[in-house]
Symmetry: C2
Subunit: 297 residues, 2 copies
Amino acid sequence: MNKIGYLGPKGTFTEMAAVSIFAGEELVPFETIPACMDALAAEDIDRAVIPLENTIEGSVNMTLDYLIHKHNLPIIGEVTVPIEQHLMVHPSRAEQWREIEDVYSHPHAIAQCHDFLTDILPGASLHYTNSTSAAAEKLHDDPSMNAAAVANVLAAEQYGLTIVNENVHDYENNHTRFVVLAQEASMELQPAASRTGDKTTLMVTLPSDFSGALHQVLSAFAWRKLNLTKIESRPMKTGIGNYFFVIDVDQLMDDVLLPGAVAELEALGCGVRILGSYPCLFSVEEIESTEKKPIPK
Amino acid sequence: MNKIGYLGPKGTFTEMAAVSIFAGEELVPFETIPACMDALAAEDIDRAVIPLENTIEGSVNMTLDYLIHKHNLPIIGEVTVPIEQHLMVHPSRAEQWREIEDVYSHPHAIAQCHDFLTDILPGASLHYTNSTSAAAEKLHDDPSMNAAAVANVLAAEQYGLTIVNENVHDYENNHTRFVVLAQEASMELQPAASRTGDKTTLMVTLPSDFSGALHQVLSAFAWRKLNLTKIESRPMKTGIGNYFFVIDVDQLMDDVLLPGAVAELEALGCGVRILGSYPCLFSVEEIESTEKKPIPK
């Protein structure tokens, strides 16, 4: 059995991502992204699952900073998880949920459900917890509270709460990307069912003349008909005026086109580092044995 | 006196940003980014200061989502604040700070100081609070705790704590960008001292063929020698395969070049929206009457 580290606590979207691809393995929650990456570098764990894009649990900047400046840990997979927040209460309060006086959740989750909370529970007081699952745990521990939590389906299961209103977040189509890191590059993650494509992530440094040089960089991809799915500029830590780019290409490393683009970029004076070449997986929400209950609206 | 809304609570980096440009005005903390923007749209406040880039307090995705999908509130200024985290204790414990047993802070701040805490205070237990300033408040309220907080200089002042170790974050050159929003475009923010430049932020939508079309978009800027300082692709909320770009140009809207680039992009079939054209300000850390104490190392 492998040890899979992830950004905890239990009951968060990162755990949902980890469970969806590593069911049956030993899952080990870590308190912070750097602690999880350090453990992987030290070989205390075999794989790490951490958020790459901005989410209520983590920070893209932190993950990228540590991937680029501190560790050389290849990305071996990406997992996209739909961010679906639900309103949940202790089962004894499910009938009278409209009368609840207090709502608990992580500050970002409260913000994501701003319109719902303002419209449907205008009189409720809002209280912050350190994670969405901590809010669910609180309600589980003290059934006497006339309160609801905003959290995900995993937290509802874990703490025996009843979901009384599904998808209470303001915007649809919210997804968060998590990456799976390993000590060495690997193509082990290939479950056909949930595979949505492949990706190669490059870090390209560009010492000066941002717009002209970036235009050149994109030429190297455009004339080879290599499709990009993401481009993001980030300032180097070394000073103002130096940038690097994180570029996602929608295919695995091949023998001709991608190596050709990389060679062309290096000839232009750019630095190129391949952060990973890996399959993209999609995590469906219904994990394990969730028994669906009818939802009163 | 104007009412300036900002993402609270008091003692956070967002308050530092707000104080640095709106000293003397009435500052009103809001619990969430959407609540602050709603209040501005409803004219309950005159200006709003919210984080635009990823930070321990907020989320770029949320700010951009609400700016693009919900409100039409122009950016009238940008404030960059250096993110400097310090280790602080109750004054009665300043001598024995190396013996503290517990460290309190926001989870992202704890993560940002991972190396320092692992090296210097390996035996201390880590505890999470909802904001860095909440950690400082906790120590202020209960001097009997043998504990330290990781927070900023404003929180140390506000809660009368002694900074025993400065700049305990792992990476230097951490800055966070905040934006000032108003109901209407304005050039009112022009304090010469801290002005580092100007910026125009465009949202460009690109229906298909990401890499080829983006290459064309950049041509419109490159041949006019318009310098970009940031480019970021984001998926539209309407479905997979549609993207928009947030592009920063390092100058104010002019009469010829920028309107020419916009017209060219529109002729190529892109949608263009100007999110703001505004001065960039830099917030120095020493605000108000901070009395510097010697720092034991």
